[in-house]
């Protein structure tokens, strides 16, 4: 009980819980799930973009994209480490991803048919991710908050590069402009859905808000994203595919249409365009790499044995 009070007190004073501190089981479980899901999203999120590294149309874009996808692997690594401070095991989390027992962001179940998608993902998807994640830099769990600081910094950089790619393309040929608009049309609504279901349908939010591992409601974050993105779209010269989108003078914010929540539900429950494919690829990489990981362990074991023998001699 004392421990629980201390925990509540730390939360109330908006200070950080650290891995060695006592914490309620629900807090630990919720965080592991949330961080793992986030880590999985980084790793699966490499696929739709990674496919274009070998075909990027200039060496500069190739380097930028290659580095971005590498950063995502890095984010995955920090996040798995943060989950490990809570007692999770990375191999176990990977297995859960591969078996479909843990989720990742539904956005990565959409395909990337053109190089413009690379730019639009960085602009809209990373943009939405940043809206979601900036508040998490103040998450009550220390290691997660610190990982988020680094992740957000890198993602802002990615987002600017994506925006810059799109502005360049919009100054290019008619075909390039059409390709950008087409990609925006495809990614706009899925990006809005990244913030999750409307507040009324988001049962776990309240507890997460109380624990300060969630700082704002889904609808509030979605509104921020829309308000931030509309002027950027205007500057780029692309149209966001929502006839209801307009500035509301009274609210001082944008009104916008309602995403197709049944689609979000379909994609989250595994029925998106690329769900099985994304997981299958991750699984194949993991299984094809098993002999390599086994070799590394065997070698490490041999080395350790040699060291022991050396010490004993």
């Amino acid at each position: 009980l004392r421990l629980h009070e201390q925990f509540d007190d730390t939360i109330a004073r908006d200070q950080r819980i650290e891995p060695r501190d006592w914490m309620p089981d629900g807090y630990r479980r919720t965080l592991i799930r949330q961080i793992a899901q986030h880590a999985h999203s980084e790793i699966i999120g490499m696929q739709p973009e990674g496919e274009w590294i070998t075909r990027a149309p200039s060496l500069r874009r190739k380097a930028i994209l290659f580095a971005k996808v590498q950063d995502e692997a890095g984010h995955g690594l920090y996040l798995y480490s943060a989950a490990e401070t809570l007692g999770a095991d990375r191999a176990d989390l990977t297995q859960r991803l591969i078996d479909g027992r843990q989720k990742y962001s539904s956005i990565f179940n959409y395909p990337t048919p053109t190089f413009a998608d690379v730019g639009v993902i960085a602009w809209l998807v990373d943009g939405a991710a940043i809206c979601n994640q900036v508040p998490l830099c103040r998450s009550s769990f220390g290691p997660y908050a610190r990982a988020m600081v680094r992740v957000c910094k890198e993602e802002s950089f990615h987002q600017r590069q994506g925006y810059e790619l799109l502005s360049t393309m919009m100054r290019g040929t008619d075909h390039q402009r059409a390709t950008v608009q087409d990609a925006v049309d495809r990614w706009w609504w899925p990006s809005l859905m990244m913030f999750g279901p409307p507040d009324g349908d988001s049962p776990n939010s309240e507890q997460s808000m109380a624990w300060r591992i969630k700082r704002h409601t889904n609808d509030e974050l979605r509104q921020r994203f829309v308000d931030m993105t509309v002027p950027q779209a205007a500057a780029l010269g692309v149209t966001l595919p929502d006839p209801e989108l307009r500035w509301n003078e009274e609210r001082g914010r944008h009104d916008f249409g309602t995403p197709d929540w049944s689609e979000l539900h379909r994609v989250i429950t595994g029925d998106g365009p690329c769900n099985t494919e994304r997981v299958a690829r991750r699984r194949a990489a993991h299984e094809d790499g098993a002999w390599v990981r086994e070799a590394a362990s065997a070698h490490a074991a041999t080395q350790a044995a040699r060291a022991r023998e050396g010490a004993a001699a």
Binding site: A56, T168, A285, G289, A298
Partner: protein, 241 residues
């Protein structure tokens, strides 16, 4: 001018094609740490290629940019050694090839640090640090695989057998690459052999002199690799990126 440009292009082509192969590992690596490391090495090599193409475009008087070299030359105009164009194979093949490639390239670049052209010399100096990391990464893995399980040992040895016939080409003198090939060969072989000894692996003695990549004679894998690399850029040559 032309000789310097030609030297830069062949060194750039080696790096670009090697980087493209490393990019093909992306999302397929056996572990996240390897995902990061292979991307890192690929990015370093891509950076080397870009600096070298830029130097070539100024040296040959054409003022061509890096993309003119990478995207708008046909396979027969590429000057890379064949070693880098071979498909990735399994992880064993990729790290064994990387060990040989990085060791050899490090020897070349060490000798190029006092080349008369200050730009090339600077590129060489900068690249040396990178290549030293690539070599250690590959060496570490070759040892792990050779000294790992029965399967990893088998795969590592096979990879060596497959890489061996492509060594000869690395040590063939080239008129525009002014380095002492005999000493490059001696050093490269000595270093690779030391790693293989530790790994308990054997370098087959067959060292074919066949090659021809430096003269534009490539395997069927290069056109396929370039078709992929160049496809978007060539689909709309008026486009700006």
């Amino acid at each position: 001018g032309a000789e310097l440009a030609s030297c830069c292009v062949l060194l750039a082509d080696d790096a670009l094609i090697a980087a493209q192969r490393l990019a093909q590992w992306c999302t397929n690596a056996p572990e996240l740490e390897e995902e990061l490391a292979l991307a890192n090495i690929g990015l370093d090599l891509l950076g080397q290629a870009r600096h070298l193409y830029a130097r070539a475009g100024r040296a040959d008087g054409t003022g061509r940019g890096e993309d003119a070299y990478a995207y708008f030359r046909d396979p027969a105009e590429f000057r890379n050694v064949r070693l880098v164009e071979l498909p990735n194979g399994d992880y064993a093949f990729s790290v064994v090839r990387l060990l040989v490639f990085a060791t050899w390239r490090l020897e070349l670049f060490t000798r190029l640090t006092d080349t008369p052209d200050p730009v090339l010399a600077a590129i060489a100096s900068k690249s040396i640090k990178e290549l030293d990391y690539h070599r250690s990464y590959a060496a570490q893995w070759v040892v792990r695989l050779g000294d790992g399980t029965a399967e990893s040992r088998l795969r590592a040895q096979r990879a060596l057998d497959e890489v061996a016939p492509h060594l000869g080409e690395l040590f063939t003198p080239h008129e525009h690459l002014r380095v002492d090939v005999a000493s490059v060969r001696a050093e490269t072989t000595a270093i690779v052999s030391r790693v293989l000894d530790t790994a308990g692996l054997v370098l087959p003695i067959t060292e074919s002199a066949t090659g021809g990549g430096r003269d534009g004679l490539h395997t069927e894998h290069l056109p396929a690799l370039l078709a992929e690399l160049q496809s978007v850029a060539r689909a709309d040559p008026q486009a700006t990126w």
